[in-house]
């Protein structure tokens, strides 16, 4: 049994999509370690496999080959219920299109992960309001998504992603639908969260956005082609005893 090496560890992970007789190799032999507290940006062109990698790390899909360890647990053998629990409590997602439920208020959207966790109504109300306050939306809690600006909607989504205090925040092009100022605010918020110790994996196709991270991984054609530390980046010092980052090549 391998012990965990940081928060995330991917060993020889590959993903093949089958579309009829057509086989698409989306990921190929990916080796990756991410430690607690890192702010990692994953960049690549569309079709490079970054979304596939994000899905695997977020337990939305399983690797075809290889092993994925999250917090010391191999994910490949877990049941649907276990994966749902991981998505609920260990991982928080934010998306380019926010994915808020349109008929629920900001508060109700943020309460949703707590509902799936089985938290009592009064407690989830308290926690959801608290986290909405943290993202600066205390006066927008009872607004429906269509009554909020894009930036506000994304902040609701971030609140929802964080309400169960996940180990990992996955952000898929979080500024893609926002104007530059709102985008700026969201990035600022992510940076602040990382400084508070939150591990973040940011997926983007824009290198300049990725620069706020402490570590930059580039994907091409399903393979990691570079993995570099950014000196000016904002990655918080990892509290884990091991080195904060382990390069793919190092462990091969």
């Amino acid at each position: 049994m391998h012990s965990a090496n940081g928060l995330i560890r991917l060993d020889h992970v590959g993903k093949v999509y089958r579309n009829g007789s057509l086989e698409v190799r989306a990921l190929n032999n990916v080796e990756l370690r991410i430690a607690q507290g890192e702010f990692v940006a994953l960049i690549g062109q569309s079709g490079s496999g970054k979304t596939t990698l994000l899905d695997i790390i977020g337990c939305l899909s399983r690797p075809t080959t290889g092993t994925y360890w999250l917090n010391g647990r191999s994910v490949g053998s877990l049941s649907d219920g276990d994966l749902a629990a991981i998505r609920n409590q260990q991982v928080g997602f934010i998306f380019q299109s926010f994915h808020l439920l349109p008929r629920k208020t900001a508060l109700m959207n943020v309460e949703l992960p707590l509902q799936y966790r089985g938290v009592a109504p009064s407690e989830r109300h308290r926690r959801a309001s608290e986290i909405l306050r943290d993202v600066g939306l205390e006066d927008r809690m009872h607004h429906l998504p269509n009554q909020l600006s894009g930036g506000q909607q994304q902040r609701v989504a971030i609140a929802r992603a964080l309400v169960n205090r996940p180990a990992l925040l996955l952000a898929d092009e979080p500024t893609g639908s926002l104007d530059s100022r709102s985008g700026e605010e969201i990035l600022h918020l992510l940076r602040r969260l990382n400084q508070g110790g939150q591990t973040i994996l940011l997926v983007t196709h824009a290198r300049e956005l990725a620069e706020i991270a402490g570590r930059l991984i580039t994907l091409r054609d399903g393979e990691i082609i570079s993995d570099e530390q950014i000196p000016g980046g904002t990655s918080a010092e990892a509290p884990a005893p091991e080195t904060p980052t382990l390069r793919q090549k190092d462990t091969a």
Partner: protein, 407 residues
């Protein structure tokens, strides 16, 4: 996700699309309303029939003359000509506990002053009134001494009395049956129709008078036997049958009917009705269920991204399955309740309609029993579950990564 959270979400979704929800519900509403109203109407009809049969007396055996084939007629020529007046006495001697009413029916014109009426005259004995539970409203029925002295007295049915005498009292008036003068001694209570016989148009005279004055022989049309103990019906049927064959020189020219057999035959007819109508209603409910399935499949497709998102934030397959199942069950549940209300309204409305269209038939009195409501409601919910299951399973099996990015 607690059940109440799921239910609240489901209701919110249903209310958000009021037109669609209403149309989907309509199928279930029509189905349930059809089940409730049809069962209610048939049930009411059955009660009415059973009641009217029971009003005419129960525990009855009818001894009819059997029509013989030409072959049998040749074979038995000169040996027997059916029931005779003496047969009734023989039955009385055999089983003194039975009430026996000989009946002799024939057609004769009736006349009272200028008014006349062509009707069927029934010659019978005092027991008839007792056995058929059919009593005079004014005056009296035929008495023993009328029989013994073959008196020319007549008891008129309610409608006949009205036709001949209008609102004047009929008692002690004179009526001509054929060429014979009769004294009206009684007018029967109003009874209505059953099996094509209008009891209010019957004319009763003593059976002996009928034989002497009109038919000229001692043949009977039929005999009614009242059996005090229902459990003995079959034994007595056999006993009487063999007695009569013996009296008829070995010729089996009679048939004995049991009133219970009428009820059974009628019940069978009603069951046929019930099955046919129930089948129609069930098909309506089924179509309603297909409507639910159709809409739920559309809903699942429309909400693919929502399903993906819910899975991404921690919904299990069971959570998603339950969410969509609760929606389809909610549609069928509410549709079922509305359908029950409409069905009850239809059943009683139909009763009113019959009462108004056929005043003679009386109130149909549709009966909506709690069991029918429970059955219809259970069916509706079962249909919600079974037709909602496939779309719900489909939703629960969606791949979260694909569902999230579904366009």
């Amino acid at each position: 996700m607690t059940f109440s959270d799921t239910a609240q979400d489901a209701l919110k979704n249903l209310v958000a699309n009021p037109m669609r929800t209403a149309l989907t519900m309509l199928g279930v509403i029509i189905g349930v309303a059809a089940v409730i109203s049809m069962i209610g109407i048939v049930e009411g009809g059955q009660r009415k029939l059973v009641q009217s049969i029971e009003r005419l007396g129960t525990n009855l055996l009818f001894v009819f003359n059997k029509k013989l084939t030409a072959e049998e007629q040749r074979q038995f020529a000169g040996r027997s000509t059916g029931q005779k007046y003496d047969d009734a006495f023989a039955v009385r001697r055999l089983r003194p506990d039975l009430m026996v009413a000989p009946v002799l029916q024939f057609k004769k014109p009736l006349k009272a002053g200028a008014r006349d009426f062509s009707g069927e005259v029934t010659g019978t004995s005092p027991e008839f009134s007792e056995i058929r539970n059919f009593r005079p409203a004014q005056g009296r029925f035929i008495l023993e001494k009328d029989i013994a002295e073959w008196r020319r007295v007549v008891v008129l049915g309610h409608d006949i009395a009205e036709k001949l005498f209008g609102s004047d009292p009929a008692i002690r008036r004179e009526v001509k049956i054929g060429d014979e003068r009769f004294l009206v001694v009684g007018v029967m209570e109003q009874k209505g129709s059953l099996h094509g016989t209008n009891y209010d148009e019957l004319i009763f005279i003593p059976v002996t008078t009928a034989m002497r004055r009109f038919t000229g022989d001692d043949k009977l049309t039929y005999t009614i036997l009242h059996v005090p103990d229902r459990g003995e019906m079959e034994a007595i049927t056999k006993q009487v049958h063999s007695l009569l064959i013996q009296r008829h020189d070995g010729v089996d020219d009679i048939r004995i009917f049991n009133q219970g057999e009428f009820l059974i035959a009628m019940d069978r007819t009603l069951w046929t009705f019930r099955i046919v109508l129930g089948g129609v209603a069930f098909v309506a409910l089924l179509v309603g269920g297909i409507g639910i399935m159709n809409i739920m499949l559309v809903t699942v497709t429309e909400r693919t991204r929502e399903i993906g998102l819910r899975k991404a934030i921690g919904a299990t397959r069971a959570d998603i399955l339950r969410q969509f199942l609760v929606e389809s069950v909610a549609i069928s549940l509410v549709g079922g309740l509305i359908g029950i209300a409409i069905g009850i309204g239809l059943a009683y409305g139909f009763g009113d309609l019959v009462a108004r269209a056929m005043p003679g038939a009386g109130d149909w009195g549709a009966v909506v029993q709690p069991s029918a409501i429970v059955i219809a409601f259970t069916f509706a919910v079962a249909i919600g579950i079974s037709f909602g299951l496939y779309p719900a399973v489909k939703a629960s099996k969606l791949d979260p990564a694909e569902a999230l990015r579904y366009q």
